[in-house]
Symmetry: C2
Subunit: 154 residues, 2 copies
């Protein structure tokens, strides 16, 4: 008894939403390059020469995961990684020509995929959908560090 209706649980819906997206991505965008990998390429198109940690921050991946993703992109020849001569801890990342081409090619397809993905909603709803998800995600991310009392921000 006392089972719950999971279709009203945002977490469960979030998981299903992501699965559905992953599926559509595979068929409409690429079976080689995944959505997080594309996010990394995109971050480096916007800001070439970032280090790993910062890229991870931009796309929302922790230090371990970003290392794996970058490893795969390097293996595919889309990315180069060189020690920062200024700071021996960092690796600076830069797209190869192939990486730039791949990003451009996938950009077109992701736009098409997003249209299909959001097709069940009308234009107003689409904007609302994006806004609501962003607000919830932003707020939950803000809960990470318990935010010390405003009197002691440092």
């Amino acid at each position: 008894m006392a089972a719950v209706d999971l279709t009203t649980h945002p977490g469960h819906l979030a998981r299903r939403l992501q699965q559905a997206h992953h599926l559509l991505w595979n068929t409409m965008v690429s079976e080689e390059i995944t959505s997080p990998q594309f996010a990394v390429l995109n971050a480096l198109v916007a800001e070439p020469g970032l280090d790993q940690r910062t890229v991870g921050e931009r796309v929302g991946l922790d230090r371990s995961t970003i290392a794996e993703v970058i490893g795969r992109l390097i293996r595919r020849g889309l990315l180069d990684k060189v020690r920062d001569p200024q700071d021996g801890r960092r690796f600076l990342l830069r797209l190869t020509d192939d990486g730039v081409r791949t990003h451009r090619r996938l950009t077109v397809r992701t736009a098409r995929m997003n249209q299909v993905f959001l097709a069940p909603l009308d234009a107003d709803e689409q904007a609302l959908f994006i806004d609501l998800i962003r607000r919830v995600a932003d707020a939950a991310e803000g809960l990470r560090d318990p935010a010390p009392s405003p009197a002691a921000p440092r």
Copy 2:
């Protein structure tokens, strides 16, 4: 150049939403039992004695993943798995007493967590949020099998 703004991409937002949810789950619900594991427990509270495949269908996991999740729940002693005497291919699943207790305990906490998770939205927005996500996820899942022409449904 020509980088894209990922904050308008539903797939990227879906991933961030799920990450945020996962984080909150860990702190507010359980570090032992994950959200998909809870979904399995919940499915078996609603319908005891289901087989693996059907549980997977109920919670939205493929045959491989559901096998892993069930394996972990069995190792934790929350679940039992026995061959169906009627059909030697199936395993029938049933919660242990501990499994039932765990489900009950977590149900209370998930309700609290959902409140916190959705707190940035007002009541109307929350209902809308759930509705929009569900519609998009359902539609995308329906794209799996290309839906043959209506004249030849069989």
